[in-house]
């Protein structure tokens, strides 16, 4: 049975509340995992494990949070910003994420802001529909 976006959101919300110890009203669509919800690197893995369990899916690490892999490629990063090639690769790797704001100023320090609650919901929606 297909899940509605609202149903997916409320499950994702529960995962974030449990994994990050935040209140459910903090987990809004636009909240960033790192900036707003205080996630650290180990929390990302915790979140991935919990999402796999909640939705009974397998989530390859580099699929949901692919930025780490791109950062180490010198073709993709120049002077602390993503190059056009880097942006293209990131856009391809993260179809579930709204890049419009980031493209204007692809500062790698702002990469963390791409990981929002809604990008996670989009990803799960995409995964469940593909299954």
């Amino acid at each position: 049975m297909a899940m509605s976006r609202d149903e997916i959101f409320s499950q994702v919300q529960e995962v974030m509340v449990d994994a990050l110890g935040v209140d459910d009203d903090e987990v809004t669509e636009n909240a960033t995992l790192m900036g707003d919800l205080g996630a650290e690197s180990i929390d990302f893995l915790d979140i991935v494990f919990r999402l796999e369990k909640a939705f009974a899916i397998k989530i390859p690490r580099e699929e949901l949070f692919p930025a780490e892999n791109l950062m180490s490629n010198s073709e993709y990063v120049k002077d602390g910003k993503l190059t056009d090639a880097g942006l293209a690769a990131l856009t391809e790797a993260m179809p579930h994420t709204d890049m419009s704001g980031f493209k204007a100023d692809p500062d790698i320090n702002k990469l963390g802001d791409l990981f929002t609650v809604s990008s996670v919901v989009n990803y799960i929606e995409m995964k469940l529909n593909a299954a």
């Binding site: 449990d18 690197s41 180990i42 893995l45 915790d46 494990f49 690490r61 780490e68």
Partner: protein, 159 residues
Amino acid sequence: MRWIWIDKFVEFESGKRAVSVKNVTLAEEHIHDHFPGFPMMPECLMIEAMAQTAGILVGEARNFQEKVILAKIKKAVFHHYVRPGDTIRLEAELESIADEAASTHGKITRDGDLIAEISLMFSHIDRNLAGKEFPEENFVFTDMFESLIQGVTIKGKES
């Protein structure tokens, strides 16, 4: 330093679950200070004991090739005190394991009564996302733990 907060494994199922026991005694020096007149096992040490039980479970699942480090206490809830003379039973279950990390769920009981629920995350630190490097030798699974693992029958191990 000797830092072992479990006495032995009583059950061990590779990649699934491990059960250890710990006998709490007045011979442990710290317990006289925690607290004077009311000795009890510190809760932080119960977390450590669970981290050792679950950490060895995680380590064994990858044949002790990874450096397994406690990375996050997902949950630690305590229901009762543990006093000298008590034997506690620590049951750890492997919830998820991936190349980078593992998560476990565990409970501590005494004579069947629930004492604590402790869920943990472990990192395989050589595969950390930040790409930091650590010494080559496995400083986690040293010979300190050897006596604990020796002689334990590990169920479900291939080969």
